[in-house]
């Protein structure tokens, strides 16, 4: 499998480590009301669709970028690759 790294171009998947559902970016606020339930959902309720899926991949044998890879799990087609940092900012994360 080949992942088209936004900074480095096409790289073999063997250089990466996969972490899973990109929803892990959406870490709840631990100080908010009901944080326990929110963390339960965050940690344990992940999607594992047969089809288009957004996943976190880490370029461990490369530049150490975390990426969000949008991939079809049935065909392995890679539809989109973004820096996870940009994806996180787009979802409102900052400091």
């Amino acid at each position: 499998m080949i992942i088209d790294h936004p900074l480095l171009g096409p790289r073999d998947a063997a250089e990466f480590v996969v972490k899973g559902d990109a929803s892990l970016i959406d870490r709840p606020d631990g100080l908010a009301e009901g944080a326990g339930d929110a963390f339960h959902d965050y940690l344990h309720l992940r999607d594992n669709p047969a089809g288009v899926h957004r996943e976190l991949w880490y370029h461990e044998h490369g530049d150490r970028s975390w990426l969000v890879v949008t991939r079809n799990t049935l065909t392995h087609e890679v539809l989109k690759v973004e820096l996870a940092r940009d994806a996180a900012r787009a979802r409102g994360r900052s400091r």
Binding site: M1, I2, D12, V17, K19, L24, I25, R27, P28, D29, G30, L31, A35, G36, F39, H40, Y42, L43, L56, Y58, E60, R64, S65, W66, T75, H76, E77, V78, L83, A84, R85, A87, A88, R89, R93, S94, R95
Partner: protein, 967 residues
């Protein structure tokens, strides 16, 4: 050494004779032969025994699809079983032996299985070996195992070298037959980067096996000329002897190149190279495989595929028999007869099923002697050339779940619409079964592909002229009868087995495969699958496309495990990491132990020490009495910088970090987001915006990965940067009452007094007259201790300098074992306690977890299940009878309780014999241990048969107030 079946002509080099052995007999062949063609030239028709019935078997094909002629090559460690004689290039000194017989090949004792055939039908072992149940393990299974399998491995390590390599191209052409060569020429002339791979050692495919003409020259000569033109192109790489074994995601192809298998010796060169080919486009020109027909006793040596017969005659100059009969359902029969006649070989009969004729039986115990026709007439023949039609080699088109589709006009499956992205198919593999059609298909498809890639194909030469004789076929699959008619020769699957499988409910094609083993093993049914489907279709009253096919998966042909391993064997499988003091330690009697990828000194042996305990006890005692030095460079080290570094640390550690002053170190406890303890270590603040974190040796890489995740994905705008500096610094612990005195001699101009540099202080400094260093006053041993770090390149000099400076104090180096003894005496948790299933509370560190901040793991560490009563707690344990020894893994039980899980009170995680206290001590998790100090329980160890009364004590055996480390 005469070759009675050798003919004139062919493509072998008669000026280069080669000598080889088969079952010990010395035989001769020529350069350009395969083992199979050389065996046939010598009249050796019987080459092996079949898998189940041990029937005599010969050579069926002339290519990679061979199900029968599997031999063992070589002797000793390099011997290789199940090698197909039909693709084994002959070389001087080749040694081959036949497989799967007890006693000589001609008189196989297990051929009794053939008489037992009525009891050995499909699925027999599922039914036969059921009763009595107790017989299975003792009798049936060992018996079946002994009889199963074909060749034998030597059991010795593979002496050959294998390599891995990577290639990139615009177009990968798989197969160098007419379509592949024309495609490669077209793409090469246009300037595309082309790789042309073919599993044969001679390019040309069927051009070498047939008597075709192209542009007025012999097909083989045209192939030669095409290869010569390709060889002049810098943008084309030709890979002969290379099998494309798999088509993987995104244009990645697996290729196995055989580099030295055809040579008498490898001379240290890699035997095979496993290539990973990154191709923008792929063009499959893999040709087609001929199939047989099923009729009674169609498996005798001498029964061959007609295309193979032509290949032996035309390419290798070998007659597969003196009197050849032909059975065909298509026009290839006529071609075969013509080619044989041209060589003066007698034609016994041409049996064309389209005329209603058929072969219904054969005779000849170790080789074909005669065939029997439908009419009952017997015809003498020592070879029967069978053509049941051609099946396009669609395998690679199915490697990403594509399914082939049936074409009635050629009675064959062709590639379906769901090709792997970027792959095209041309030539016979695409159902273009005539030569002219194959050439045109190769040309047109390549033109289209390179055009798509932006290459211009201007002024192409005229398409080569070749015959376009259609190969009319009327499917004919099998002759019904009471005798066994083989479908899959490698697995001894007959038409009866298929009918029985259907009768017994295994009528789906995937079930059929598992029930009968049709299409399994080394050939994966290349010659058998379609025939098997046809027989199943007939039995079930469906059409062949309705019956469907099984899924083709990589590899296309077998790939040695050694090739997958490449050079990653033994010590190269995982590199060993050596800490900076390694050379010094080796000079000084160190015994080494693997800890993860690291090789660390476990203890240092001194003269007169009788066992490891002597060394470890001495190291502990000397450290506690004077001073000891330990290499702790293997700890993970992460350099953390940025304006928000403090904030970042405060969020990744469970305990507070915002107020750590510059020049101080703090113990840090890291949780996972699920609230369990992940890792621990110390973090030193070297400057306002500069920290250095240590992690445990085992988690160094993982913690770094998680920190990067937190930095990039959770808080992308925190100003913080991370670098792994584990390998950049050599770090030594200097521990013991004389540590300060020793270090005063090593460190330049630094006041090391307790006031100026107290416990948990840190600073940058220099050592031994200007070498840059960092000094941390931290202690794992419980003694007055420091850790001093220098850039790795000074690590060796540093250990030598420290030992020299320590000479007057009797300084000792200590290894991981003494380190462990001292941390157990001190009650520090390590790997056995930080096992990913324990909480801060269980480790006695619950109060460290700050509740006023949102750090990783804080929220879920407070889940009800992790905070309730009756929880485990890390405690110290010591035997009531001090002479008894404790063992890690023992479970804690209350006195008098039943030894079962319901009464389990915990377990011992770490033990040591403490030279400081003179008895065995342990750490362990005990239910409500904090409230049970002084209580006596049992350390129950059924594995070692021990039941030892132990006392629950504080885990801090040694200096619980910490006066020594603060002194």
């Amino acid at each position: 050494m005469s070759q009675p079946f050798r003919l004139a002509g062919g493509l072998t080099d008669r000026s280069r004779p080669l000598v080889f052995r088969f079952n010990g007999t010395v035989l001769q062949g020529y350069h350009g032969d395969t083992l199979a063609s050389a065996l046939l030239a010598n009249g050796q028709r019987l080459v092996g025994r079949s898998f189940k019935y041990h029937r005599p078997r010969g050579i069926l094909t002339a290519g990679p699809e061979e199900p029968n002629a599997l031999v063992q090559l070589g002797t000793g460690p390099a011997q290789e079983p199940n090698t197909r004689a039909t693709v084994t290039e002959l070389y001087d000194g080749l040694e081959a032996t036949s497989q799967n017989h007890r006693g000589p090949l001609e008189w196989d004792l297990l051929s009794v299985n053939d008489w037992l055939a009525p009891f050995l039908s499909a699925g027999f072992y599922y039914k036969t070996f059921m009763w009595p149940k107790s017989f299975w393990e003792k009798l049936y299974e060992p018996m079946i195992r002994a009889a199963a399998g074909l060749g034998q491995l030597s059991g010795a390590p593979d002496p050959d070298v294998y390599d891995h390599g990577f290639l990139h191209c615009d177009l990968l052409v798989t197969g160098a037959g007419p379509a592949g060569l024309e495609a490669a020429l077209t793409a090469g002339r246009a300037g595309a980067r082309v790789i042309l791979a073919d599993e044969d050692f001679r390019l040309g495919g069927r051009l070498n096996a047939e008597t075709y003409e192209i542009d007025g020259m012999a097909g083989a000569d045209w192939a030669r000329a095409a290869e010569a033109e390709l060889a002049t192109m810098d943008n084309v790489r030709i890979l002969p002897r290379t099998t494309i074994y798999g088509a993987f995601d995104h244009g990645v192809h697996g290729a196995l190149e055989r580099r030295t298998d055809h040579l008498p010796g490898a001379n240290g060169k890699p035997r095979q190279i496993l290539w990973r080919i990154y191709a923008k486009r792929a063009l499959l020109c893999a040709g087609a495989t001929e199939r047989s027909c099923a009729f009674a006793n169609n498996d005798r040596p001498g029964v061959m595929l007609a295309g193979a017969v032509r290949a032996y005659v035309n390419r290798f100059g070998v007659a597969p028999g003196k009197r050849v009969a032909i059975l065909t359902n298509n026009d290839d029969g006529r071609r075969t007869a013509r080619d044989l006649q041209a060589q003066g070989i007698a034609i016994a009969a041409v049996v064309d099923t389209r005329d209603g004729a058929a072969v219904v039986d054969t005779r000849g115990r170790k080789g074909l002697r005669s065939i029997t026709l439908k009419s009952g007439r017997r015809i003498l023949a020592d070879c029967l050339a069978v053509s049941g039609g051609w099946s396009p080699n669609v395998h690679l088109t199915c490697h990403q779940r594509g399914r082939p589709v049936w074409r009635d006009d050629i009675a064959a499956f062709v590639p379906g619409p769901d090709l792997p992205p970027g792959m095209s198919v041309a030539g016979a593999a695409n159902g273009a079964l005539t030569l002219a059609a194959a050439l045109k298909d190769g040309r047109d498809t390549a033109t289209h592909i390179v055009g798509n890639l932006g290459f211009a194909t201007s002024n192409p030469p005229a398409l080569p002229k070749a015959e376009d004789e259609a190969c009319a076929i009327t499917p004919f699959w099998h002759v019904k009868g009471v005798k066994r008619a083989w479908v899959d020769l490698q697995n001894d699957v007959t038409t009866k087995d298929i009918a029985q499988s259907h009768r017994e409910g295994f009528g789906s094609v995937e079930h059929l495969k598992r029930y009968t083993t049709l299409g399994m093993a080394t050939d994966q049914g290349k010659t058998a699958n379609v025939l098997g489907l046809a027989v199943l279709a007939e039995a079930s009253g469906r059409t062949i496309p309705e019956t469907g096919t099984t899924i083709f998966r990589p590899p296309y042909t077998p790939v040695p495990i050694g090739a997958f391993a490449g050079r990653a064997r033994g010590k190269q499988f995982r590199p060993t990491r050596l800490p900076p003091s390694h050379a010094w330690a080796a000079e000084n009697g160190a015994s080494f132990v693997e800890t993860g990828a690291w090789l660390r000194a476990e203890w240092y042996v001194r003269d007169g020490e009788k066992g490891w305990r002597d060394s470890v006890d001495r190291e502990v005692r000397m450290t506690r009495e004077s001073v000891g030095i330990c290499d702790v460079s293997t700890l993970g080290k992460i350099d953390i910088q940025g304006r928000d570094a403090a904030e970042f640390l405060n969020r990744v550690y469970a305990n507070p970090f915002l107020k750590l002053p510059v020049g101080r170190v703090r113990y840090g406890l890291m949780l996972r987001e699920d609230g369990f303890v992940y890792d621990d270590g110390t973090t030193a603040r070297l400057a306002e915006t500069h920290y250095v974190m240590t992690t445990t040796t085992a988690n160094a890489g993982l913690v770094f990965r998680e920190l990067e995740f937190a930095r990039q994905c959770l808080w992308p705008d925190l100003d913080v940067h991370l670098i792994s500096v584990t390998d950049a610094w050599a770090q030594y612990a200097v521990a013991g009452p004389n540590a300060r005195a020793l270090l005063s001699k090593a460190v330049d101009d630094l006041d090391l007094s307790n006031d100026a540099f107290p416990f948990m202080a840190c600073t940058a400094c220099t050592v031994f007259g200007g070498t840059p260093a960092r000094l941390f006053r931290i202690s794992f041993s419980g003694e007055l201790a420091y850790e001093v770090a220098v850039p790795s390149r000074y690590g060796d000099a540093m250990i030598r300098g420290l030992m020299q400076a320590g000479e007057e104090f009797g300084a000792v180096p200590y290894g991981t074992e003494a380190l462990s003894v001292m941390r157990i005496e001190k009650g520090h948790a390590a790997g056995a306690e930080l096992n990913g299933q324990t909480t801060a509370r269980q480790l006695g560190l619950g109060r460290m977890v700050a509740q006023t901040k949102d750090a990783i793991g804080t929220v879920l560490s407070q889940r009800p299940g992790m905070t309730g009563d009756g929880d485990l707690r890390l405690m110290g344990l010591r035997p009531v009878d001090r002479s008894r020894q404790l063992n890690a893994g023992a479970h804690i039980l209350n006195p008098g309780d039943q030894a079962d899980l319901a009464h389990d009170q915990g377990w011992i995680t770490s033990v040591a014999w403490s030279p400081t206290f003179g008895h065995s001590i342990g750490l362990g998790f005990v239910r409500n241990g904090q409230d049970r100090l002084g209580e006596t329980v049992r350390a129950y160890d059924p594995v070692r048969g021990k039941d030892t009364p132990v006392e629950i004590v504080s885990p801090h055996f040694y200096d619980p107030e910490g006066a020594r480390q603060r002194g």
